[in-house]
Symmetry: C2
Subunit: 197 residues, 2 copies
Amino acid sequence: MSSTKQRILDAALDLFSANGFEATGMGQIADAVGIRKSSLYSHFASKQEILDNLIAALTEEFEKRSVLSRERETPAGGISVDGLAESIKNQIRYVLHDEHIVKVRKLMTIEQYRNPQIAALQTKHAYTDVLNYNRSLINDLIESSVLIDGDREMMAAQLAFPVSAWLNLCDREPEREQEVMSLIERHVSQFFSAYKK
Amino acid sequence: MSSTKQRILDAALDLFSANGFEATGMGQIADAVGIRKSSLYSHFASKQEILDNLIAALTEEFEKRSVLSRERETPAGGISVDGLAESIKNQIRYVLHDEHIVKVRKLMTIEQYRNPQIAALQTKHAYTDVLNYNRSLINDLIESSVLIDGDREMMAAQLAFPVSAWLNLCDREPEREQEVMSLIERHVSQFFSAYKK
DNA sequence: GTCTATAGACGGATAGAC
DNA sequence: GTCTATCCGTCTATAGAC
């Protein structure tokens, strides 16, 4: 099931995200897969092609995810302050502990200035999709008269981007996760007290 | 005045921030300075020592800056919505166009996961100092009865971190600066309309 | 598809002349 | 302090046996 090609891509993501593309050698990838480095060339023509395949896979992955997030549904009983805080905390806990997601986030962060495709992915993943998701959430909260109306895109930004900053902080200093969780609670609570109807 | 040692550090910052520490060769640094690579070793014992000196210089630089920001003073006539938006836009324009600051930000971004000292610098520069500065601003705005009181740290986060997200966006896609400037205006305006007394 | 062997360039770092 | 010359290791990639 797990082809050698896929195992190479997995090892490459692991190493590229930890050490960077340039700093990772074909020998390291081969060692991680358990083959000789020359054998890698039976699957990919070059190191660059490994990265390109990785990017293609991530692009597809993100496309699926943003379709999914567009299908997000409001819970039947409406949304409460505590419920929203809990939901955001759960999402953050998930993206903080899912190894694949962490690696993808780090890879995009450290390679964004050297690879235009990665830059585009990073903008989509860390900015556009985040803003869209939160705008849709804010829309629902306004339509259901939980929040007062306003510049919905900016309300989405004010809700989402502090959380993004804390996610970045946890990527650097995972030991601060508990602190961040309580900040998220205070943040959502303060956001609601400012915007509640 | 500009010693060879300093010119090496300048070239190293330039190259490390563009290509990463591991991907930058001593030959590249030497070429940029205009000497042979062996001559670099008359100034630094190793490539690592160049990075260490760079980090030491940045640490000192940031320390001075956060002392300065603690001395920030409220303008005599108080702070208006438009005045604050303009002030934030000016700060962002400054940090977006100052070449040294851009390089430092990119270096910290791409090396933060591989170098603990850089991780600490990044947290101080992009998180702690930003939050402290904005908390002091929020304090003034509440004390002078411009804004209603609340969880001041969270209000600072909600004001500051959307701007940080847009700064990151501009580092990847500088052509979106104008769009970001108008987003900042809308953001500050929406922030005030939510929190005005 | 995996292996050994190797080409050829480039990496960091050192020795010693000037 | 800068130079030339060199060491030796590693890099990406290829050739060819199995």
